[in-house]
């Protein structure tokens, strides 16, 4: 399954970059993330549990690896999640471009979903992935705005 699109952030690429590589932020922006820890500069491990309506997919053990990092422009994120009702694996390429004062993020992800989730839930997969992505991006931009606001305040204070 291919998921791609663009999203515009207020705030410069560097700010978005810092945001995207912060595990606490990733944890907030990936729906259902219960915990996420950095195990290496470019590796994260954690647990996710995505809930859609009555469907509570059991806990997923997730591993996230970042590669091809070109700060603050692009990186590749590889996700590997395994749970009792199936698995999800994928590779997402993220590009950040300055866009009149803000940042334009282009993402292209190739996701694989397998096991029971795929074989019983396919009717919803497309919708679910879109909904999760949307809420994730909204979380990110909220986070970013908070940060920028904070920076703003600290600047004033300084």
């Amino acid at each position: 399954m291919i998921v791609e699109g663009t999203y515009s952030f207020t705030g410069r690429p560097q700010a978005v970059w810092d945001l995207l590589l912060d595990p606490t932020v990733i944890a907030k922006s990936m729906p259902g993330t219960k915990e996420l820890v950095r195990t290496a500069p470019d590796r994260y491990q954690g647990k996710m549990q995505v809930t859609v309506g009555p469907i509570t997919a059991a806990e997923f053990a997730v591993e996230i690896a970042l590669s091809d990092l070109e700060p603050p422009q692009r990186f590749v994120m590889t996700i590997d999640g395994t749970g009792r009702f199936g698995f999800t694996r994928g590779r997402a390429r993220v590009d950040l471009q300055p866009e009149n004062g803000g940042t334009r993020m282009a993402y292209h992800a190739d996701l694989q979903v397998g096991g029971k989730i795929a074989s019983v839930g396919q009717r919803l997969l497309d919708m679910v992935s879109r909904a999760l992505l949307r809420s994730g991006l909204q979380a990110l931009s909220r986070e970013l705005e908070e940060r920028l606001a904070q920076d703003g305040r600290t600047e004033e204070a300084g």
Binding site: A118, S119, R123
Partner: protein
């Protein structure tokens, strides 16, 4: 031979129904035994993966769990299964055998392949324990696309073979290239017939019970072939055949996959019962059924038809790919069926057919109702439609011009059939079939009046009319034992299993006529290896032909025993005897008669002497093995209405004219055909197993795998014609699969006729509304 009673040919209500209608019939899941344990399987979520590790310790610790087994626990019992059907000896045939193992040891080759077996006090607890295990699987790129699978550098389903090619064979007759050169028109197309599930409403199930005291293993199995299972289990477990009893009780539909022998569960349950010394049950659930039970149908054909300007067939060339899934235990049966059935009712002077069987990371493929025949029919019938279009001929007319004439029988097609015998049609009379169907569907008037009128009202009606043959009733053999008991009751025992075909009744009808007794007084026993130990099984529409004939032969032997006895007892002049009403009497003098029961008692003297060589009892066993299969035939015609806005199709009428030789029980035959048509409609418009590029099945439930309902299947209007088969004394041919075979071809022709858009060609099965929408859009694009 038909006795006075004339049971054969009558729609006798089924004797087995009483038990089924009152809930008293025993199905495998109905077997309850003291101390019964229950099984659930941990199955792979991946289609292709290396098994790096599997920790089952937590599952073993769970309260209520009795045992958890992995491949390692099987020790020497870890073996791959046998090739069930040896490849047909076509010259130059290539066949690479690769068969399934009970549990995955190092590599997963399709989703749902079993990794571990949990035995627990209840199925609920067993399923709880599945959540205690997560297999460490290293995903490998999956082999899904048939052409990509054969490309150099493709990932391999079986590394040891060095290729994904499972088999390759070419059969030829005549000189196709010459035919092509001589042709006025050559039409060639690519056809795709996709994968479906057999979807019996009863999933598979096994109950195995090893009794350490009697040292006997009893296995209740949803199998179409109990005797081979008994023999295979004995061999696998190192037991004597006499220690293993396999019972195929009432089976909730078979349709092919329940023939497949030595399914992992079929070996593991008996093995575990021996390990634990307790009875043990596994009932496949619907989810498992979509992975663990064999499937059928994906083939891709590149075919061409060479014809003269007046529509005479000069020759056909077909090259096709056949998906066998991850393993090929069933040999070449399906592709050979496709290859042989393509020739249909037609006189085809030259034929060149080449197939390549491909391993993929999908569940195993074995025959499902039709068993490859519908592919051949779809390809040939579609090619004829396109040739007719090209020549400006009516689709019915081009068929009419190519039918084999009655004097052509027996007709040798000069290629080999699935039973390794030459493909020879035993008998048939095709033109009357065609004309009767044309008349029943009122073809001419539909084309002349109904269709144009509907057009004017903005409605899109279309008609399709196609033909098929079905090779049925193949060997090797079946047997039966008929006994007249001293009570007068008649007992008929045969080895074949039964899954709803009505054997209890039709076998009884055959015997009733020979012995002049009432069908109600005949008890038929099938599918219990303790009752009858020889035979193969119920498949290839062979039950009535092979086992039915064996019943007939056995009954005749009992009859002659009775004649000999009666002649003695009824005194001089008692040669010409009549069997009727359970009595044997001298023709013309009913006062000189004796009940069969009395003869049975006399045949078992308790004192005195008998002549040397005397066989006691009114009992006989007989076997029947035909030289080759008998060929049934028929025509399907349907009228559809297409909603061109919504791309939805509704079937308005469905007509079947068929010839399955002598009909024993018309009502049962009609039921077989109506049911087959429903299956065919499913394949044509509803049923498709959808896989993604990683070999994940995307519709493993009856919510998304669409079986046709009562609103989707019309009542079929039927006519029988009887051209008796010379290959058996009853003159019967099989009928079990006929209905399902040509439906897709008729459907495609009818939908095209309704839409009347020359740019729109239906080259694939199934055709979903979504797909029809795409084709219609593409058509529009072409016009623009």
């Amino acid at each position: 031979m038909t006795g006075a009673a004339g049971w054969i040919g009558r729609s006798v209500p089924r004797t087995e129904d009483l038990r089924l209608l009152t809930g008293r019939a025993l199905f495998v899941d109905d077997v309850h035994l003291p101390g019964l344990l229950h099984v659930a399987f941990l199955r792979s979520d991946h289609a292709h993966a290396r098994l790096r590790g599997l920790d089952v310790s937590a599952a073993r610790r769970r309260p209520g769990v009795v045992a958890v087994y992995t491949a390692a626990d099987l020790g020497d019992y870890w073996r791959t299964g046998p090739v069930l059907v040896q490849p047909v000896p076509v010259p130059g045939v290539v066949f690479h055998a690769a068969t399934q193992a009970p549990l995955v040891r190092d590599k997963v080759r399709h989703c749902g392949e079993p990794l571990a077996m949990v035995v627990a006090e209840s199925r609920y607890v067993a399923e709880d324990a599945l959540a205690d295990m997560v297999a460490d699987l290293e995903p490998l790129p999956a082999v899904v696309d048939l052409e990509a699978a054969l490309a150099p550098g493709a990932p391999l389903v079986h590394e040891s073979l060095g290729t994904n090619l499972a088999a390759h064979a070419v059969q030829r007759k005549g000189d196709y290239d010459a035919a092509r050169a001589a042709a006025d028109l050559v039409v060639s197309r690519r056809f795709r017939y996709d994968r479906g599930a057999a979807a019996a409403i009863e999933n598979r199930g096994i109950v195995a019970s090893w009794d350490p005291k009697s040292e006997e293993l009893v296995v209740w199995d949803t199998t179409q072939a109990p005797i081979p299972i008994r023999n295979g289990l004995a061999q696998f477990l190192g037991l004597r055949e006499s220690q293993v009893r396999v019972i195929a009780p009432f089976i909730g539909g078979g349709f092919g996959p329940k023939i497949m022998m030595y399914y992992p569960e079929e070996l593991l349950l008996p093995w575990a019962s021996l390990q634990l010394g307790r009875p043990i049950k596994w009932i496949e659930d619907r989810q498992e059924n979509f992975y663990a039970t064999t499937q059928e149908r994906l083939q891709i054909h590149d075919a061409e038809l060479a014809v003269t300007r007046d529509g005479k067939i000069l020759g056909v060339r077909d090259r096709f790919l056949h998906d066998t899934g991850a393993y090929d235990p069933y040999g070449l049966t399906i592709p050979i069926n496709s290859q042989c059935t393509l020739l249909g009712l037609y006189d085809v002077p030259s034929y060149e057919s080449e197939f390549t069987v491909v391993f993929t990371n999908r569940p195993i493929v074995t025959p499902v109702r039709g068993a490859g025949r519908q592919h051949g029919v779809f390809v040939m019938e579609r090619l004829l439609d396109f040739a007719a279009r090209g020549l400006g001929l009516d689709p019915v007319e081009i068929r009419r011009r190519n039918l084999l004439p009655p004097e052509a029988f027996p007709h040798n097609h000069q290629i080999l059939f699935q039973d390794s015998a030459p493909l020879v049609y035993d008998s048939g009379d095709y033109a009357p079939l065609l004309e009767r169907a044309v008349e029943m569907i009122d073809y001419e008037r539909f084309k002349r009046e109904e269709q144009p009128r509907a057009r004017r009202e903005g409605r899109r009606l279309g008609v399709g009319l196609v033909s098929y043959v079905e090779g049925t009733g193949i060997g090797p053999y079946e047997g039966a034992r008929v006994t007249v008991q001293p009570s007068g009751g008649v007992r008929v025992v045969t080895g074949v299993g039964t899954q709803g075909q009505g054997h209890f009744t039709t076998f009884a009808q055959i015997v009733a006529d020979v012995l002049g007794v009432d069908v109600g007084g005949i008890e038929v026993i099938t599918g219990d290896t303790r009752e009858f130990a020889w035979g193969t099984g119920t498949f290839a529409s062979r039950g009535i032909v092979v086992a039915g004939t064996a019943c007939h032969e056995a009954a005749l032997r009992v009859r002659s025993k009775a004649v000999a006895l009666a002649a003695e007892l009824l005194g001089p002049g008692a040669q010409d005897l009549v069997f009727d009403g359970g009595r044997v009497s001298v023709r013309g003098s009913p006062d000189r008669s004796i009940p069969l029961a009395e003869l049975a008692r006399r045949a078992n003297p308790l004192r005195g002497a008998v002549r040397p060589g005397t066989e006691p009892g009114l009992e006989a066993t007989a076997y029947f093995g035909p030289d080759r299969g008998s060929t049934a035939s028929g025509i399907h015609a349907m009228i559809v209405e297409v909603d061109p806005e919504a791309a939805m199709v509704a079937i308005r009428r469905y007509v079947v004219v068929h010839d399955c030789g002598r009909v024993i029980n018309p009502q049962i035959v009609e039921g077989q055909i109506q049911g087959g048509v429903a299956h065919g409609i499913g394949n044509a418009f509803y049923e498709q197993l959808v896989w993604d590029e990683n070999g994940q099945l995307l519709n493993a439930s009856l919510m998304d795998y669409l079986l046709p309902t009562a609103l989707d299947v019309p009542t079929v209007e039927m006519a029988h014609r009887e051209t008796p088969s010379p290959l058996n004394p009853l003159g019967v041919k099989g009928v079990g699969e006929a209905g399902a075979i040509p439906t897709g071809a008729a459907f495609a022709q009818a939908v095209e006729d309704a839409l009347d858009d020359p740019g729109l060609e239906i080259l694939e099965i199934p055709l979903s509304p979504n797909r029809l929408f795409e084709l219609m859009q593409a058509g529009k694009g072409a016009d623009a």
